[in-house]
Amino acid sequence: LNYCHIWLLMSSNNVMPLCVIYSITDRTDQPWFCVYDFVNNRIQSLRQDIVYQQLDGQEALCVQETAVRFYLYSHYRLSGLPWEKFDPKLNLDQLQQCLLSVLRLNDANTTNSSSSSKCDHRLLHDATRTHRVCSGTGASERKAEFWGYYLLVNLGSTEAAREVLSHYKAKRHLCGGQLRLVYDINKCFMEGNVVRLFRLTHLLPPLSRCAVFLHINKIRRIALQIMNKAYGNRESHFPLQVLTKWLGCVDLTAITEFCQACGLGVSEGSVKFNTRHALKPLNSQAPEHGQPLPLHCAIPEFHKTDSKPSQILMKL
């Protein structure tokens, strides 16, 4: 089946079973931004169906959770493409909306533990069961997972951190190791401790690392700013090799590009810090002339993954 056949097959019900969404993300015969467009379209339809049917139970939660994972992964996979192929801001807006829906639905489903299913779409109902079986995690781990995404997507926000803490009432209750890890990453970001931040990030599962990737340039720039002041006396030279490790870059080329984009001189394997010269602001807006977004630097371990997109999305 090619792309168009699947569309026609599903267009009668206007519903895309979630398991089909997952398998479509593995397609390699099309450029992945086409896959993104198609799946994004289907997710929007599902979300509209949720609104029309006023669903707020497990089916709605299922769709929104899938959407969050999909948008997180997509941002990592496609940022660096020209704006007309992928709009990171739009993707981020949709991610935020779905994330807030997940948190709200989790809250509502906690207070109303027996929510009767109002869904009259058999495919949607069946897909929910598939989603739960495939995900293979309990309710509390899933809630912690999405609180983790919320904190990472809003990295550095004291309000988000406060919400997590007031939800769990105590730091020691942060369910499972992962949410505690995310909380510590947020703390490292607020303290400017990038070495520990990247060290902890490498311990996160792939999708959570995608969430950190949303802020990768901001984190690295803050780090360079701090280092420019701390190491910048009398134009000192700092080895790029060490900087690559500290800032979680793939290779020397990536870190060199980044330093130069920030206005720092690089030569003979070192970057020159100087307190008298301020760093250039990074241009993270959509480029005006269709040029690709610069500074696409992957986090090393994730870059080396052999997992298929569907495996990452279903957390297998």
Partner: protein, 412 residues
Amino acid sequence: VAVRMRIKLIYCGVRCLEMAYVAVNQYFQLVESALEDGDGELLAELISYRHPHVQNEKLRVNFESQCQAYFQPPFDELFAAHIRCIIALSERDSSNAFACQLFVVQSFLKAFQAQKEENWGLPVLAVVTRDLRLFALEAEKCMAASGHKKPADVLERAADQIMSCFRVCVSDNRTVVERSKRLGTLVLVNQLFKIYFRINKLHLCKPLIRAIDSCDNLRFSKAQMVTYRYFVGKKAMFDSDFKKAAECLEYAFNHCFVTSQRNRRLILIYLIPVKMLLGEFPKRELLLKHKLEHFMDIAKAVRKGNLVLFSDALEKHESFFIHFGVFLILEKLTIITYRNLFRKVYLILGTHQLPLKAFEDALRFMNVEDVDIDEAQCILAGLIDKNYIRGYISHQHQKVVISKQNPFPVVK
């Protein structure tokens, strides 16, 4: 007039509790005289649910016809709703009580808005909006306990109504100051602050703060100013504007009524962390006096640069700190703890060129998990960037060179 004076004298002579048992007519006559004389203070008392007339069961019989007999619209409907609210309260029906009180506020606002160049109704507005907020809180708690999906709606509705009252007051800018309704804005703003903090919508406070800050020529009561500064200080703290937070919270603490122990303690819970971030630590006596021993170990740990004691102290009282929303602010003290620890390293080694290994060892000694020399450098770099240390790091020589003059400036 003579009859009204006699009734007022009788009222003053009657002890409070007796109001629970006097004839219904006397209550209505008092209200009528308050309305006719424009006596806002008396009317506020008579419409408050803290007043003993609320216990008078005789009031709950045939009240609709009595209200119509005594009062002109909208006060007839207003007092009918007030009595319905009393009945709802006696039946512990908080949702119904809230709905009735909402009607009371709406009706009163109509009458209040129609009073041109007068503001005698301000005490009444303060009381009815206060009661509206309290009933909304109670209704929200009951809804949340019974598993209702949107308990916060009731507080938002209360806020919307109080905001309508605020708009009426704030737009009265052509009347002389003494009779202007603008004198009532601060009471309403404080009510709104209490709701917005409760429903965690702090961004809605900003336009209110701007409105009050532009009321330079108005003199508000000290009690209301203390409440206002408390909330503004708290918001500033959450916005990480610690200097402003300290200024406002200090004002609130210094001007708070001396016997309001609960309020003074509440102000201190926010003032102490803010002051610690600005380098000032609370005295032991102050903490003991206000039963805030929770901060004692934190202050001691930060001063001594003891990371172990600091994290233990945070963990020991984390539920208390999280409940009041100060946990994250206290966590920010980690950086100052690092600064004090590193200052000790400098004092011990007695040199201005300090090996990075010494800082790594100090952090390891303080049980910082998996710390290495890279992280030690990173933390040092952060301290230099924030001007807690004056100096620079030489990666080549693996040393930090600190200034000979004032290498560890006072934390401000």
